[in-house]
């Protein structure tokens, strides 16, 4: 009798454990499925505009004589930060004023499914995305110095400031 009760109790515990495992796997799968989402370029631009992006986008006014050489917004990948899925995009603008030096600004854009969260100015293009870590190439001029080569997206989402290649960069709109 006692043995049967113990077996039943163990069975109930095993069922509970199984349910928990299945629930967690489902949740993970749900986030992963969302993380696989791709925006069209227009959707990204709409999210940037709605989110108060401070960079330049096609259609924005510019001073006379200003020339846009290139503007690209390319997807890097997706990152799970806690329960949220973050979509990472690379924004590159190359421009110049007639008769002036050519300039380039590169930003790492961070979006959720529904909004633009902010961006970091970055000085080199990322190397690879591994899990929730975005890795950058080392500065060949200073091969032995630890200058910060990674951005880690933890459960709290994008860090407010990052240390990358010997510089500090804020997360801003």
């Amino acid at each position: 009798m006692l043995k049967a009760q113990r077996l039943r109790s163990q069975f109930i515990w095993a069922c509970c454990l199984l349910l928990i495992v299945v629930a967690v796997a489902e949740a993970d799968h749900a986030v992963a499925a969302e993380c696989g989402r791709d925006f069209t370029r227009n959707q990204v631009v709409s999210l940037l505009r709605a989110g108060g992006f401070t960079g330049w986008l096609r259609g924005d006014p510019w001073e006379p004589g200003h020339m846009l050489d290139e503007l690209t917004i390319d997807k890097i990948g997706d990152v799970k930060a806690g329960k949220r899925c973050l979509h990472l995009y690379m924004y590159i603008i190359r421009h110049h004023l007639r008769g002036c030096a050519h300039h380039e600004t590169d930003r790492l854009l961070v979006l959720t499914d529904t909004q633009y969260l902010g961006s970091y100015i970055i000085t080199e293009f990322p190397l690879r995305l591994r899990g929730n870590v975005l890795e950058f190439p080392r500065d060949k001029r200073f091969p032995n110095e630890n200058l910060g080569y990674r951005i880690v997206f933890g459960p709290d989402g994008p860090p407010g400031e990052i240390y990358l290649l010997g510089e500090t960069h804020s997360f801003f709109k």
Partner: protein, 225 residues
């Protein structure tokens, strides 16, 4: 050598970037000064931002004529001399320090940035506050506001602070650790990674760093003579 270029990345000629007749700078500038920008700067009275101080002339940057319609290129000499002096004082720099700035270096830099565009040379000669390039760190480190109206004085002061930041590697606490190099600082100030027909297979930022330092060296050797 004139390093200005048109919208297709081609070189302009020395006279290609014409000054604007009627520009408030045209005709006011001191032309081709000889040596002694720093010495004269000490004896000159403060000049209004963006206007020429007849007693402060830095000299002509090679390839950037200041003759006739191009006289506007000398119009910020007084401002550049003051900005360089203020920057050196703020950072306690003396001649021989790698990040010490002479007026000649500042002017050479300004020519590469905006030596082909009289209007921008009169407002933001260092192109430090352009819509496409905004970075929140510029507010923190240079005191700039996004979209603020620029003058040569605010442009020079902010550009020098931004250059200084770019000149050093920092640790994770923001402390300066390693001075890159003068050329490396200019390289990272510009940041542009693609190449152009006038510097094939060389990233623009590398070309830019070399170009400014080359002009600076020529200016400095002229000053010594």
């Amino acid at each position: 050598m004139n390093t200005c270029h048109d919208d297709k990345g081609r070189f302009c000629t020395g006279s290609g970037a014409a000054g604007q007749p009627g520009s408030h700078h045209a005709g006011q500038a001191t032309k081709t000064g000889a040596a002694g920008g720093k010495e004269r700067q000490r004896s000159s009275s403060p000049s209004k931002p963006g206007t020429a101080d007849s007693r402060t002339s830095i000299g002509t940057v090679p390839g950037y004529s200041e003759e006739g319609a191009h006289a506007w290129r000398g119009a910020n000499d007084g401002v550049f001399a003051q900005a360089a002096a203020a920057y050196n004082k703020k950072h306690d720099l003396s001649p021989g320090d790698p990040d010490y700035f002479t007026p000649e270096r500042l002017k050479a830099w300004a020519m590469v940035e905006s030596g082909g565009h009289p209007k921008d040379f009169a407002t933001d000669p260092f192109q430090v506050n352009k819509k496409g390039d905004w970075d929140d760190q510029k507010a923190k480190r240079c005191g700039l506001q996004r979209g603020q109206a620029m003058t040569p004085a605010t442009s020079a002061a902010a550009a020098l602070e931004w250059w200084h930041y770019k000149a050093y590697k920092h640790d994770a606490n923001g402390r300066e650790t390693t001075f890159k190099s003068v050329e490396g600082a200019f390289r990272d100030y510009n940041g542009k990674k693609d190449a152009y027909p006038y510097h094939p297979r060389v990233e623009h930022r590398d070309w830019y760093g070399k170009e400014v330092t080359k002009l600076d060296r020529i200016m400095s050797s002229q000053e010594r003579k």
